[in-house]
């Protein structure tokens, strides 16, 4: 059962990452998250939003929507865009040995989200609606 629900819809640009962060801090302040757990959520959402700005919209300004749903024992955050999608089945966790050996740049965001959140799911409909779901239990 959803106890609380919050939403923000704003232009997808890097300058708004801090706005999104402050929206989450404000919305989550009544929960008993430790600072460490809160920071994991903030960083994961930052990564999801950065991916939208960079990959879905290629830095062209468009809208991004963040929905936060609070249940008894978990929070779910949905990051939604209408940009270029991707095939979730082709998303691989970066092979860090190769990454480090070649000083490859990029791809770390997915690794960080998967490590910091309890669940990461994708619902991709290119050009229509792409959604990343991030879940953290508490």
């Amino acid at each position: 059962m959803i106890l609380q629900s919050y939403q923000i819809k704003i232009p997808a640009k890097t300058g708004n990452l801090e706005v999104i962060r402050n929206f989450l801090i404000s919305s989550l302040q009544t929960l008993k998250f430790s600072e460490e757990e809160l920071n994991k959520v903030l960083l994961s959402v930052d990564e999801a939003c950065s991916n939208v700005i960079r990959h879905a919209y290629n830095f062209k300004e468009n809208q991004i929507k963040i929905d936060l749903k609070i249940e008894k024992n978990k929070i779910s955050i949905f990051v939604t865009d209408s940009g270029k999608g991707f095939d979730p089945s082709k998303i691989e966790t970066p092979k860090m040995d190769e990454y480090l050996k070649n000083f490859k740049v990029g791809g770390l965001g997915i690794l960080i989200m998967k490590k910091l959140m309890d669940e990461v799911e994708y619902d991709i409909r290119p050009g229509s609606q792409n959604k990343v779901k991030l879940v953290k239990y508490f």
Binding site: L17, L100, I112
Partner: protein
């Protein structure tokens, strides 16, 4: 993010403060390439006042390390807050960079 620059014993110490995310990566890379152009290729990043870092920022530091290595230089990190250090450990980038507890140790390591 604010940046202060000082030179100690030929080593450039960049003090960053605030959030280090996708908003700041372009300025950061331009700063490093400006230093490389001035032949300042030994760099210490003082991250004492950086409480938040994301993958875009990590990627920009890795890119700068690659550029500095090509110029026979290096970049070392100092004063990482626990959260930031945790991200370096999580991504295993802690094995790529030399990380020091204070700026003096980082400067002396060159």
């Amino acid at each position: 993010m604010n940046t202060n620059e000082n030179i100690f014993d030929g080593v450039t110490v960049l003090e960053l403060s605030g959030r280090f995310d996708a908003t700041q990566t372009r300025d950061f890379k331009e700063k490093i390439h400006s230093l490389i152009s001035n032949e300042q290729v030994y760099i210490v990043l003082n991250l004492k006042d950086v409480a938040f870092i994301d993958s875009s920022a990590l990627g920009s530091i890795v890119a700068c390390l690659r550029s500095l290595n090509q110029a026979n230089g290096d970049i070392k990190l100092a004063n990482l807050q626990d959260e930031v250090r945790g991200i370096f450990t999580l991504t295993r980038l802690s094995s790529v960079f030399e990380i020091f507890d204070d700026v003096k140790s980082a400067v002396n390591s060159f």
